[in-house]
Amino acid sequence: MTIRMTKLLSLLVAALLSVSLTAASWANDRVTLTDGTVVEGTIKQELDGYIWFEIRKGGIVNEVIYRASQIQKIERNVGAQADDTQQTQRRPERRDQPREAGATGAPRAAVITLGGGSGKDMVGLYMTAESVRRVIPQLEEDGVEILVLRINSGGGALLEIERLSDLIEEELKPKFRVVAWIDSAISAAAMTAHTVEEIYFMTTGAYGACTGFYGASGKAITDRVLEEALYLMERISDRGGYDHAIMRAMQIDVPLSASFDEHGRVTWYQDHSGDHIVNPGGRVLTFNSQTAKRFGFSRGTADNVDELAKAMGLTEVIWVGEQERGFGYPISRAEREILRFRDRVERDERNLNNYVDRFQTSLAVAQTRPREERGPFLNRAREALRQIGGMVRNNPNFALFVFGTDEDGFWEWYREQEEMIRRLG
């Protein structure tokens, strides 16, 4: 099977293809998105239903890509703008927010981390949709317009990918310009990042190796489960605007090659027929920062927020948060919350056996004692049960990973244990 699809190599190429503009006046187009957002700017390029749309704001030029499914209406040449400050995205939910430095016109950006590396990185445990959803209000209160998802994870649970992708697509993209900044995105982490159109790498970045397998046996997923994973990633590839062939070469052992046209655009082939072999047969694809950039998958390479802003074409930006030791980016309120979440998960994961052991042994001893002597043991069991409950409250996925049940099933069990303690007392 040969899958062909073109992709823009870089913003630079798009700029070369576009109509020349002046700062004071340029062709003005208006795009109404399906979520009601009205965006004014200049259509730079159109391809296969996608549009590359340039928005000027406060002297800053940003380019965003909209998929056909996002677009309700396109109005062309609705009137030249004399003042670029009138060119803004209409997003009522953000316009009303107070912005400390908004007067400068510089966009406000924040970094939040998905996965913390070094053992605190499993998708589904440390990188969850729920933990990100909780910080959206803080990001909005802080007037964040550009949200950088810095990803550092070696992968994890398949089930969390769709939740994270839905969150990015349906809850983050309508509110923010979402950017993925890849420290390390392996397996489920890469599959999540694939939702994002704008991907940048750190120099050390790696992205791919998305083969699904059962951890205990080392057996690859097959048959229906595999087909569902492949189909899921086709849909997520569409969200991010990526050729299906790329992710397929990351999921299963198929070759991938690519050719460039005279405009620098890439055509992908799921065989060896392209001019450049990206993934030979017998291997599963993982990009590094060089290969990702070379084939236009990554829009740039940046090792700190200044380099990232430059790669994103931002001449001015306000990074929300404070610089702290041990972090290569400013820590916003939202990020602090994410860090707290991961610390709690790590503590719970480390102490899980102790919680369970304390609960079980305390309860067992209580059952062997006369009723009047049970109090201290039952208190101990109750305390351990609360710790287990707090663990699941912080991260509902513990219910599945630890107790093999969904959240409802866990809380049902929890109430039964509470009742048992009450009866013993």
Partner: protein, 477 residues
């Protein structure tokens, strides 16, 4: 500053720190002709020294002793101290024979009083050099804690140049020693995961630990196993003549028992993560494949002094040289080759090969040679008084802690909970205190503790403590 007064301070002969290399005095001139005596060579040197200009802008005057397709060996001298240096041709912009005479003569003509005057002037400009030498086994004698402490100390001392010397065998070699196993230490890629915290220190935390991050230089005496990835974080790697770097060549043999596509996934992820380390350091990612994959064949050729890598057997017609073979059958390295680091199933770089491949900037036998190479010359101040206490002290403390752990666990096992209620209570109290001390020690040394001590992990110890507390609650007078 009091501590500085105690430090060895060498003030060079009035040479500017940054420009020292451009003023060094050369040695003999007759390329390829062995120099018989220093006197004779000095006499010739003064009339016609050679000069090479490096790509980083340094100008080296001296005597070209030997020139091959890939390297130039020179004898250089600073204020009468001679040393031999080897330069990779890929680093050399131009070679001028006999054209440094003017500068050399000028340097020789300097009057001592003028030199002394400059020395006094340069005192404040002396480079502050911090040397931290890690010796032993990676993961044991080099861990994140002593590295962080060394970095923090270097920051307190306002070091301009941080030299990290590695003389480390793999963690696997330590495990083999503990098991009293004899085997071939052919490479252990999985040790890469032990580098996470140290890489974080070198790549990220460094920026916050130092107000102005120093120039970081790795000097490789031996960097085997996981430690071989660490020098790649710096753009300045130097080798000792007997230096070796590698010992991670078994990635493609890992993950046995898994489906092939799963194996390929894990290999792909690991190799590209490792390549990222090389890319960030400015090194060709191909060396990672050659270092890690035992069944891959790699060749290289030199173009303009720079290596161009290709996967496959060499094509002699294109001037290609075999880097690694497939390690199969008669191509498999012998024990003798492995022990001497001369095998080619996977890439373990020697000093010469590292220089040829552009990984090493030079081969130096002594620290003084290294500092000359760095352009620091003699005008530097060592500010690493505490380094030995931090780095070697960590190793000593680790060994002492392990001895103490064995003793504590033995004591715990010997505590008898018996007698009356008060005696039983006291005995349990002693048990808990002993176990908590074990936990403190294990936590302090974290992953570096010998796994064969027979002491349970921290979490298990916590469970034992919980049970003792429960027993105490259940006990009655």
């Amino acid at each position: 500053m009091k501590t500085e007064q105690k430090k060895r301070r060498w003030l060079g002969s009035g040479l500017l720190r940054g420009a020292v290399a451009s003023l060094v005095i050369g040695a003999a001139v007759l390329t390829g002709v062995p120099v018989v005596s220093q006197q004779a060579s000095a006499a010739v040197m003064l009339s016609t020294p050679d000069q090479i200009i490096l790509r980083d802008g340094r100008v080296i005057n001296g005597e070209i002793l030997e020139e091959t397709d890939t390297q130039i060996k020179m004898r250089i001298s600073v204020a009468g101290i001679r040393t031999e240096m080897t330069y990779n041709k890929s680093e050399v912009l131009s070679v001028k024979r006999g054209e440094g005479a003017g500068q050399a003569q000028q340097a020789q003509d300097r009057r001592p009083d003028r030199v002394d005057a400059r020395r006094a002037d340069r005192g404040a400009d002396a480079a502050r050099v911090y040397v931290a030498e890690f010796k032993g086994h990676f993961g044991r004698d080099m861990a994140a804690t002593p590295m962080r402490e060394a970095l923090e100390d270097a920051a307190r001392q306002r070091a301009d140049v941080l030299v990290i010397t590695l003389d480390l065998r793999s963690y696997f070699a330590f495990i083999q020693e503990q098991r009293r196993e004899q085997g071939q230490d052919e490479g252990h890629f999985s040790e890469m995961q032990m580098t996470d915290d140290i890489l974080q220190l070198l790549r990220v935390d460094m920026q916050q630990i130092f107000d102005t991050p120093p120039r970081v230089v790795f000097w490789v005496k031996q960097a085997l196993g996981g430690s071989c990835f660490l020098p790649l974080t710096s753009r300045e790697i130097y080798f000792h003549p007997s230096g070796r770097m590698g010992g991670v060549g078994n990635l493609d043999l890992l993950f046995g028992g898994m489906d092939e596509v799963v194996r390929q996934k894990l290999i792909s992820a690991n190799i590209e993560i490792a390549k990222g380390i090389a890319i960030a350091g400015g090194y060709p990612p191909e060396i990672i494949e050659a270092m890690a994959m035992r069944r891959q064949v790699w060749s290289y050729r030199l173009e303009g002094g720079r290596p161009v890598f290709r996967q496959g057997w060499p094509d002699a017609g294109r001037g290609e040289i075999l880097l690694t073979d497939d390690g199969r059958g008669e191509n498999a390295d012998t024990i003798e080759q492995i022990v001497r680091g001369e095998g080619n199933d996977t890439l373990t770089m020697t000093a010469d090969l590292a220089l040829t491949l552009g990984i090493s900037r030079g081969t130096v036998r002594t620290l003084e040679d290294l500092l000359l190479e760095l352009g620091v010359g003699r005008n530097f101040t060592r500010v690493d008084d505490r380094a030995e206490r931090i780095v070697a002290g960590w190793s000593r403390d680790l060994v002492n802690a392990e001895r103490r752990l064995r003793q504590l666990f033995r004591e715990f096992q010997e505590i008898q909970v018996q007698g009356d209620y008060n005696e039983r209570t006291r005995a349990r109290g002693r048990q808990i205190r002993t176990l908590e001390e074990i936990q403190r020690l294990v936590r302090r040394f974290d992953g570096s503790i010998n796994p064969f001590l027979g002491v349970p992990p921290v979490e298990e110890i916590q469970r034992i403590i919980e049970r003792i507390r429960l027993e105490q609650m259940a006990d009655r007078r």
